[in-house]
Homo-oligomer: 355 residues x 2
């Protein structure tokens, strides 16, 4: 058993039933993949809420954000001559690809790290031509009292990475697209290293290459360069088909600890760990051979997209790492880890207090 | 007839037969897609030379650059259980993709813009993990006496964009990867606009999006941000399947003139024109409805990859634009255009001297 997660007893901690839809007549079909942060003595989760119009017999539907920033639903006749279903979330009609649901970001707050109260209104909706199919999977970091939000912007132009900042969670500044398509899963390091910011991200391969973890360097968080690939998929293993960064890296005395996700040929999503050199995060010091968490509970194996545990947000206090994660692309759950246990048991790092 | 190119009478101006291979026993299978620049009263072309090992019955072969920066040839048995031929240049073996040839960059010089002498040795070879499958299709710009070279770096990590600079064409500085995969066709603007550098580039779509022309902004040429998509494919037209930037944009009084390439569903490559706002190059002022150049001559329709005209290098003198281009992915050719004719006839811009 390589799964060393101590799951919350009250999982899932947020379910679609806990959320009111933001669009009249739509259903919340998933609440997933939260960014996590501390603010005003609370834990904030920036959750992804996926909504879809009710099923309409004989049609497939695509909710899109219009130029006036309202959601309208495109309806296409269910005609196999023009329609190709690509997966549960995607279809292509007459050669153009659409999503069957649209996601926005919403806040949930907790005073005990376990019980969350979800706000009634969306915090951030897709805005503009790169977000007409919604915004998804936001990482949050806090540098010098400013929160930086990296998220997946989805539109007919592709999926790419946007950056937004806020000091107070009321006023927001948009920094534009920081990584061009196809890119997602961007996790900025929570502090500078020798005058540079760093970010992990996940471009996708076309014909050649794959879904690998890359890193980049920046002087100002807005302009990025020095792209390098730090980890690739491993044939025959749990992370053989695709990998991507999870939450922002955690600074430990042994290196930057990054919880990442990996998929196998059955599209099963597990979590693993990477350790990057403290001074030179281009260098991978250790990588877990086995997952540190696998989908095993019913809420992780059954749901909108079963067999998925996926994280992009965590908080920590001393040795205790609290990972918030999406389960089956439908629920938000929580689990605790011992950072030392990840280092010693999963990453085989000889820590000084190693028993 | 929308093709307004005045082709050189002596096309092709460089053929594979004119080039000695750089690797013992290899054949030069194509010489194509040159960057173009002026230096010491000559026209320099930075040509792409594609080389392959001779056919070996019963095997497919992939030349790759090893860690010691020498080319070695991987040999795979021609076994349909493991082998998938993807196109004339690509195959996949046991799930991994390889190229059947490897490209380097070599210089050719001319005093009359028409007759070129090709150097005997490569100028730049693939170097390091992002270039193990070679380097291709280099654009050259000249800013403040420094030449900047943007090229496609190809490896098992994917294809992405590298930047190299030189003052003298003897000493080179490597700036690393400036756009992550999958990206190519990067054309930097030849001067700053209001304190920022700009570049056109071509990320590829995965599942969603497509092969569209994007732009980015930089403060230092090394770090890039503010990504925007400025042009997409046009259904039913000659550029319905993919588009990409050509040579670096040309400053005219009516805007930045960009010669770009477009492909249709038959993989036929033509050239078209875009005009971008002088002060705000995110804004497209005009786009040619029809190609300004189409593959029509035998050297453009027949060859390694027929029906291709593709440019990434040009020079100009007053109204005369000399475009160097790859034909059929096998030859280098030249053609002259009148800039005013492109503006008035192809882009329908009302120029002041319009007859």
């Amino acid at each position: 058993m390589t799964d060393i997660a101590k799951r919350f007893a009250n999982n899932p901690i947020i379910s679609p039933n806990d959320i009111n839809p933001s669009i009249d007549g739509f259903d919340v079909i998933g609440v997933l993949n939260p960014g996590a942060f501390r603010f005003n003595n609370q834990i904030g989760l920036l959750i992804r809420v996926a909504e879809a119009p009710p099923v309409l017999d004989g049609f497939v539907q695509a909710p899109v954000i219009d130029r006036d920033n309202t959601v309208k639903t495109l309806k296409f006749p269910d005609d196999p001559q023009f329609l190709t279903l690509k997966e549960s979330r995607l279809f292509s009609y007459n050669g153009k690809t659409y999503l069957t649901s649209i996601s926005h970001l919403r806040l949930a707050w907790s005073e005990d790290e376990i019980h969350f109260k979800v706000e009634k209104e969306p915090l951030l909706m897709g805005n503009g031509q790169y977000e007409s199919f919604g915004i998804e999977d936001c990482r949050v970091i806090n540098i010098d009292d400013i929160f930086y939000l990296t998220y997946t912007a989805v539109s007919e132009k592709g999926f790419c990475v946007g950056l937004i900042s806020t000091k107070d969670w009321y006023n927001f500044e948009r920094w534009g697209i920081i990584f061009p398509p196809p890119n997602k899963n961007t996790a900025i390091f929570p502090c500078k290293i020798d005058d540079y910011y760093y970010a992990l991200h996940r471009p996708s391969g076309v014909v050649i290459g794959g879904n690998y973890i890359w890193i980049a360097k920046s002087i100002d968080l807005k302009h990025w360069g020095n792209y390098e690939c730090i980890a690739v998929t491993r044939p025959g293993k749990w992370d053989s088909c695709g990998i991507g960064p999870g939450a922002p890296p955690i600074k430990t005395e042994y290196g930057w600890l990054e919880i990442y996700h990996g998929t196998d040929k059955n599209n099963r999503y597990c979590l693993g760990a990477l350790l990057l050199d403290l001074k030179n995060p281009f260098k991978v010091v250790a990588r877990s051979e086995e997952p540190i968490m696998e989908p095993t509970m019913s809420y992780e194996t059954e749901g909108f997209f079963g067999n998925v545990v996926f994280t992009n947000g965590c908080v920590y206090d001393g040795d205790i790492l609290t990972v918030y994660y999406g389960a089956s692309d439908e629920y938000i759950c929580g689990a605790k880890f011992s950072i030392k246990e990840i280092l010693t048991e999963s990453l085989k790092v000889p820590t000084t207090n190693h028993r």
